[in-house]
């Protein structure tokens, strides 16, 4: 089996690090990544804790594919209780950290407690050290990574910036400058523990039977199933290609979701980004290389991804690509989630224009737009309010009906009024409004399924949530559209036991239900599986979705059907029978 069998448990309060065996039974039921980290948190966290207290735990979790030659297996899950939502939170970060951790000899790291002073964690095989981060505290993630590389040499680092230190609910964790564990304030959990960075170096490797035969089989799969037309959009364009898809289907968030098309979309679409391209870049073991390293004027970044182009571009009425690239770079350095920040700035612009509260910024105002990441990350000026997120801003100043969030997490770049399934996906995602738990727009708004009906949407969303739960636990990258059968074929070889698609689907269902159970324990129920009123009451005005909204009664129909198919009661509570069936 391709687990190392070791978990590194580090208590920042006592400074002690111990190596303990991975719980094999849990690994069988939850694989790794998302599922296994949620299992550890469910078992180890007391209900009701403050996510920013020393009682919260930060878990870094690899999976059975990590470190092997399996295509697109380079991701790491990072999980904790979310400071933004109070729900379970698992994030996914690419780059090279996950395999390096495995080469150092660990499947996972569990970080507990709080350090008295700022520290960073250095893991070099069996050597585990907490080092002073006094000199690093206050610095951006980019400078932090450079200094650690100059100090320690050939290591892979994850770091937080000022946003994490200042405990912002949209603080992320950065690695290799431009890769982020983005959502839900995972960076604030690190900040609350006085943990500035984690650096790892591993000398080991991963062994398995018939490794040459396995490699040959994977190379065939890479050629015939990974590097195919279904997936190579990642290399040819990357996520910026979604700008035109959303524009043509009328779901591109524009001026704080007041519209679903952006007149200047051609200035921020894939062709525009390609004109700035310097190089393509990949995560470990990925042949698809979705990342675009771009430069325009004085600004450079690995990005901007679709979500940034949408939330920080059209959603803020900004069409100046150079400004978006610079905004993206600033957010990455300060460690701000561009989805949440773009959504927040768009909300502030609308509140200002409507005269609800003057944040000193209006749609399309590039000059003030570029000041926002610094103000927000530092909680300075208007940033002091904006740093709390749209839910808190709306509670303080109003505009609740167009505060575009679910459970306190800002909505990403797909307007539910032109993709009803996305509405259901946001409402039922385990960490608040998220497009990665299920991304049904791909087959619905962008595919052949009618986006303006509730029919069949519950089944569609459930299937995707369960599949992705397996994918993010194995771990495979989202951008390889591989079948559950293919996952089963690969995992059978890695785990050295027969595992079929049906078993994987059951594991996916178990993981999704455990996440729900965690949230249920925190008091979440149907009342929280809701969308902002704008989606139900305001029609979009241009393009394919002109005149469209998502009627509340249709949303309620989808949600009711979703609960029924899930085996949850009318209030969204998991039935005893379902818990028994899933061994929860």
């Amino acid at each position: 089996m391709t687990y190392t069998g070791n978990v590194l448990r580090v208590n920042l309060g006592t400074g002690k690090a111990v190596k303990e065996p991975l719980n094999k039974e849990w690994a069988r039921d939850y694989l790794g990544g998302k599922g296994l980290s949620i299992k550890y948190l469910y078992e180890e966290l007391k209900p009701g804790i403050d996510p920013l207290s020393p009682e919260n735990k930060l878990i870094l979790m690899t999976g059975p594919t990590t470190g092997t030659i399996v295509p697109n297996s380079g991701k790491l899950a990072i999980a904790a209780k979310s400071p933004a939502t109070g729900t379970i939170l698992d994030c996914s970060i690419g780059g090279h950290f996950a395999p390096e951790l495995k080469f150092a000899g660990y499947d996972a790291v569990i970080i507990e407690g709080k350090a008295k002073n700022p520290v960073y964690l250095f893991i070099e095989d069996d050597l585990v050290e907490l080092r002073s981060a006094r000199e690093l505290w206050g610095k951006g993630a980019h400078e932090t990574e450079h200094i650690i590389a100059e100090t320690l040499g050939d290591v892979v680092t994850m770091a937080i910036g000022p946003a994490g230190e200042n405990l912002l609910p949209m603080a992320c964790i950065s690695s290799e400058l431009y890769r982020q564990a983005g959502r839900g304030g995972i960076g604030a959990v690190m900040g609350s523990k006085n943990l500035k960075a984690i650096a790892v170096w591993g000398s080991g490797g991963i062994e398995m039977p018939d490794i040459r035969k396995f490699s040959a089989a994977m190379n065939k799969i890479k050629r015939e199933d990974t590097m195919t037309d279904d997936n190579m959009w990642a290399y040819s364009d990357g996520t910026p290609m979604i700008v035109d898809l959303c524009q043509s289907t009328g779901i591109l968030p524009t001026r704080n979701f007041q519209d679903g098309t952006f007149a200047e979309h051609e200035k921020i679409n894939s062709d525009a980004v390609k004109n700035t391209l310097k190089a393509k870049k990949a995560c470990f073991s990925c042949p698809l290389a979705c990342s675009n390293y771009v430069r325009k004027g004085q600004s450079e970044v690995e990005g901007p991804e679709y979500e940034t182009l949408a939330l920080c571009g059209s959603n803020c009425g900004i069409s100046d690509l150079e400004a978006i690239i610079e905004f993206n770079r600033l957010c990455d350095d300060f460690c701000l989630d561009t989805i949440s920040v773009g959504n927040i700035v768009g909300f502030a612009m609308e509140l200002t224009e409507k005269g609800v509260h003057d944040f000193g910024i209006r749609f399309g105002d590039v000059e003030n737009f570029l000041k926002m990441p610094g103000l927000i990350a530092g909680r300075k000026g208007v940033g002091a309010d904006l740093a709390e997120g749209v839910r808190a801003i709306a509670e303080k100043y109003g505009g609740q009906e167009y505060a575009m969030q679910v459970k306190g997490l800002e909505i990403p770049g797909y307007d539910p009024r032109g993709s009803w399934s996305m509405g259901l996906a946001y409402g039922t995602a385990d960490r608040g409004a998220c497009h990665m738990r299920a991304w049904p727009a791909a087959v619905e708004a962008f595919g052949d399924i009618d986006p303006f009906t509730s029919e069949g949407k519950a089944e569609l969303v459930i299937g995707m949530q369960d599949d992705n739960s397996v994918k993010f636990s194995a771990i495979f990258c989202d951008f390889w559209a591989l079948s559950t059968e293919r996952m089963a074929e690969i995992l059978s070889l890695l785990l050295e036991r027969e595992i079929d698609a049906a078993e994987l689907t059951k594991i996916g269902e178990r993981i999704y239900n455990l996440a729900r159970l965690f949230n249920e324990r925190e008091g979440f129920a149907r009342k929280d599986d809701n969308l902002p009123e704008r989606v139900f009451n305001e029609v979009l005005s241009t393009g394919f979705t002109a005149g469209k909204l998502l009627p509340k009664k249709d949303y309620e129909i989808m949600l009711g059907e979703y609960y029924r198919l899930r085996g949850w009661d009318e209030n969204g509570i998991i039935s005893e029978q379902k818990k028994k069936e899933l061994n929860l």
Binding site: I69, L177, S215, K278, A279, K281, F284, S285, P287
Partner: protein, 131 residues
Amino acid sequence: MKALSFNAEKCVGCKLCHLACSAQNEEVFNPRLARLIISSYYDREGLIVEGQVCDLCLECVEACPVDAIVVKNGRLSFLEDLCTDCGLCADICPNQVIIKKDKGIGICVQCRSCSNWCPTGALTFEEVEKL
């Protein structure tokens, strides 16, 4: 003879070449046991992509005092029985792609695992005029 050639402009830094090499030659997935060093990272100036590969300069063949590295059928070949673990070949290799092991060394034998795996054509085998 055909030797490995690296084109930095095409490389995306996925390390599949390292994994393919270590699996084929050491039966383990361990990038640090690969007989090539391809790196793609950011320093303060921006993205750096660098590659060190065996270009069949044959300095190791000349340096080996016991003829444990030889050219056979257009490829390098390592004869472990003859090796005295002096380490001269690894020290002299201009590209630093010979791995010192507990017993013997690891040397690029032009097996082509790396180029077979490279998704972008950044690694290719090109004719070199030697011997």
